[in-house]
Amino acid sequence: MSDQITFTIDGVEVKGKPGQTILEAADAAGIYIPRLCFMKDLIPHGSCRVCTVFINGRPQAACTQPITEGAIVENDTAELKEHRKNIIDMLFVEGNHFCMFCEKSGNCELQAMAYRLGISAPKYPYLFPKRDVDATHPDILIDRNRCILCGRCVEASRDVDKKTIFEFVGRGADKKVAVNANADLKDTDFKATDKAADVCPVGCIIKKRVGFAIPVGQRKYDTKPIGSDIEAGKK
């Protein structure tokens, strides 16, 4: 087996290693494929579907699909941008996201993705679901209004922290992240130093008392769009 696989993304030749996913190989080549649930060092969850690309004409999630020799990948197309915008709109209306007073604003990957894709307000009607807030833990707040069910906290707690503090319960629109206790986060052995406390892409799992340490306007995505770091590595 060759130790190098060559394929194309939007006509640009990309070289990757066997076992890499489309997304990993694209990142290494400095080509940004929009994504939300994916996080380096966690098992790709493949749930947000933002990284959907066409591989030889078939839609697949770039974060879970391995690269193959000669594959023709379409990423930055008008059609895919439209689908991605629709997914982001869905995420905004299925939860309760109020960027203007969310302490994650500027560091939020959902917000940043919306701006990168040119969304200023979602086009679908808001669903205004009833979601719980859990403020029982001394150092951590869970505000499920902002959860996008990406699975990062579930995986980080299970696979990295080896604690399984979080798991999904319910199904369909009622699916949510639950904690490993009869009721509250305070009844678990969750620590602010856990990996799972640092992975939330939105303002759902946040650390108390540090929310405004960096002022709005000077935050990660306030100056450069999401994905810029990857594009900076373009060869």
Partner: protein, 605 residues
């Protein structure tokens, strides 16, 4: 914690080897015994099988037959499928509420009976129908509801309900059910006379590779809907690395309008297990699992008996029929009410004692399936075809059918037709011929392949039913001229909203939105632009969803938009003043007015 609960759970878990992969059996047993899987129970189960409590809750909260909340000893689940509604389930629902004195979702004050709705329970040909725990009562009417409620209140034991018995094995003492087979048309493969075990004997006289080749030559394709070539699936599974392999029969037919597997499980159980045994021999598996949908629990004892008989006849077990080294057995895994578990990777998750989330592919089940081992998942009907292929040969099998789709197909036909039931027809039959056969020549529309298939109108009635034209897993629902196809689409979207596992964004949120737009249109608030939004939203859900459920769930919308466009267009209207007609302030303040007992003053320009 009550001693009773802990000792019972301890025993249940022990019986399941304290094995967390048997979680489905554990939580089902706890639910059955206590009418709930409480917080206490979850904590104790987690302790017994050495997992986290939240992992138990993750499973319990996924399946509708399981619940954290206390339910009555008798749970009545009335099917609210589209076809049941067409045959009057709404009146029946009112009758249940009246007779029990409770609303749907409630339990009687004495805690004995819970009333709920269930999506398609596989009885569309004898609807309206309901489950009383595991028992099924069909052809419900207001009078029958009165009778059956009075009856159940005498003993609160569904197995003692008085009803006449159905035909065939439905009358077997282990089934003891009022369900009818309604076999309307017998074809040459499934319902014809055949020599039991002849196929198995022939197979065992061949090598595994020869068996696979025979199935390949028969061009047998999956009968569940996806149509993947069975021989190829077996070849991949056989060729995958690893000693231990599994064959799983997918008996979780949940597509609204399908019930043919119910009839096969009742009347062709031996044929099915023969097919599984041949499959086991072909791929090199010594274990098979029959994943039986929770709604068909009434067949379980009977199927266990068929398996026991086969063991005693050496058709299962060690050195089957004297073939040295060929060992194979089958266990039954019960589902617990989740349509998604008909998706093969979800089904595997469920067998492993997890919530029924689909798995990430690749790897495919043939490489890494049940417990990480190479696994072939095959539909009931597919496996029933196998003994016939081996008995009569591939050449015989392909004699009928169309060029691209050889042999026969079972169709579950229901809705506005005179003869609902199961039809075994050769592939390639024209829709118009089928409509004539089932007594529905005035049909306006036909749902073919279940809601995840297509809704077609008369323009398509000259098309043929086969893999290359109108593909189907078997569900065919007929809609008469008076049905509103937009309302039908909305009802089917309701089903997908209920049944989405919620893993991926487009299926979890997109289906909810599709339903919302349809409701908006049905209440007269739709605008012409909404049709465009529906189309684009539907396409996004189709293209970007993670598994087959989401990739097909927008079909009721997309195919009616295409084939019944007029029905939509007459419902949406352009406003003359350029204002959206979506907000009715009088309606919005009505609730508050009732509480305040005074009218609001609304200023109108």
């Amino acid at each position: 914690m009550s001693v009773n609960l802990t000792s019972a759970i301890k025993e249940i878990c022990k019986f399941c080897g304290n094995d967390r992969t048997r979680m489905m059996d554990i939580v089902r047993a706890v639910q059955q015994q206590f009418g709930q899987v409480s917080d206490e129970a979850m904590n104790y189960i987690a302790k017994c099988v050495n997992c986290h409590r939240v992992e138990v809750e993750s499973v319990v909260s996924f399946y509708v037959f399981l619940s954290k909340k206390q339910k009555g000893g008798v749970v009545i689940r009335l099917c609210n499928d589209v076809v049941d509604k067409m045959s009057g389930s709404e009146v029946v629902a009112e009758a249940f509420e009246k007779e029990l004195g409770i609303k749907f979702g409630q339990t009687t004050p004495d805690g004995k009976i819970t009333l709920e709705y269930a999506p398609c329970i596989g009885m569309c040909d004898q609807s309206p129908a309901a489950l009383f725990n595991d028992e099924i009562i069909t052809y419900l009417s207001t009078d029958k509801v009165k009778e059956v409620v009075a009856d159940i209140k005498k003993h609160y034991d569904p197995s003692k309900l008085k009803h006449r018995l159905g035909d065939g094995h439905n009358a077997d003492e282990l089934v003891h059910s009022c369900v009818h087979n309604n076999i309307r048309n017998k074809g040459r493969v499934i319902f014809a006379e055949f020599k039991p075990e002849a196929g198995l004997k022939n197979a065992l006289a061949m090598s595994s590779v020869e068996v696979i080749n025979e199935v390949k030559n028969a061009r047998l394709r999956g009968r569940g809907g996806a149509g993947f070539p069975t021989g190829m699936k077996w070849q991949f599974t056989r060729g995958a690395a690893g000693e231990k392999k599994y064959i799983i029969c997918n008996a979780d037919e949940g597509e609204p309008g399908t019930f043919k597997d119910r009839v096969l499980l009742t009347e062709r159980a031996d044929m099915l297990f023969e097919g599984m045994t041949i499959g086991g021999y072909a791929i090199g598996a010594d274990e098979g699992i029959l994943y039986l949908r929770g709604e068909y629990a009434y067949l379980r004892k009977f199927l266990e008996k068929v398996l026991a008989d086969r063991r005693s006849r050496n058709l299962l077990g060690k050195d089957i029929l004297g073939k040295k080294g060929f060992n194979f057995d089958v266990r039954i895994q019960m589902g617990a009410g989740a349509y998604i578990c008909g998706e093969e990777t979800s089904l595997i998750s469920s067998c492993e004692g997890l919530r029924g989330d689909p798995k990430t592919r690749p790897p495919f089940p043939a490489q890494k399936g049940y417990l990480g081992k190479p696994t072939s998942v095959n539909n009931v009907e597919t496996l029933c075809c196998v003994p016939r292929v081996l008995e009569m040969g591939a050449a015989w099998f392909v004699e009928v059918g169309s060029a691209g789709s050889p042999s026969t197909k079972l169709l579950s036909v229901s809705g506005d037709c005179k003869q609902p039931g199961v039809y075994e027809i050769p592939f390639g039959v024209k829709v118009s011929e089928l409509l004539k056969m089932v007594g529905a020549e005035d049909a306006q529309a036909l749902l073919i392949g279940g809601p995840s298939g297509q809704i077609v109108g008369s323009a398509d009635f000259q098309r043929t039913i086969c893999y290359d034209d109108l593909a189907t897993g078997g569900a065919v629902v007929v809609f008469g001229p008076e049905r509103d196809m937009v309302a039908v689409a909305a009802d089917y979207m309701e089903f997908f909203v209920e049944e989405s596992c919620g893993y991926c964004t487009p299926c979890r949120a997109g289906n909810v939105l599709l339903k919302k737009y349809l409701d908006k249109i049905l209440t007269g608030c739709g605008e012409p632009e909404d049709l465009d939004i529906l189309q684009k939203l539907g396409e996004s859900v189709k293209i970007t969803s993670r598994c087959g459920l989401g990739q097909t769930s927008p079909n009721p919308v997309l195919t009616t938009l295409k084939n019944f466009r007029k029905s939509y267009e007459t419902k949406v209207k352009k406003t003359t003043n350029g204002m959206q007609p979506t907000f009715d302030i009088r309606k919005a303040v009505k609730g508050a007015e009732t509480i305040a007992k005074r009218d609001s003053v609304i200023f109108v320009k």
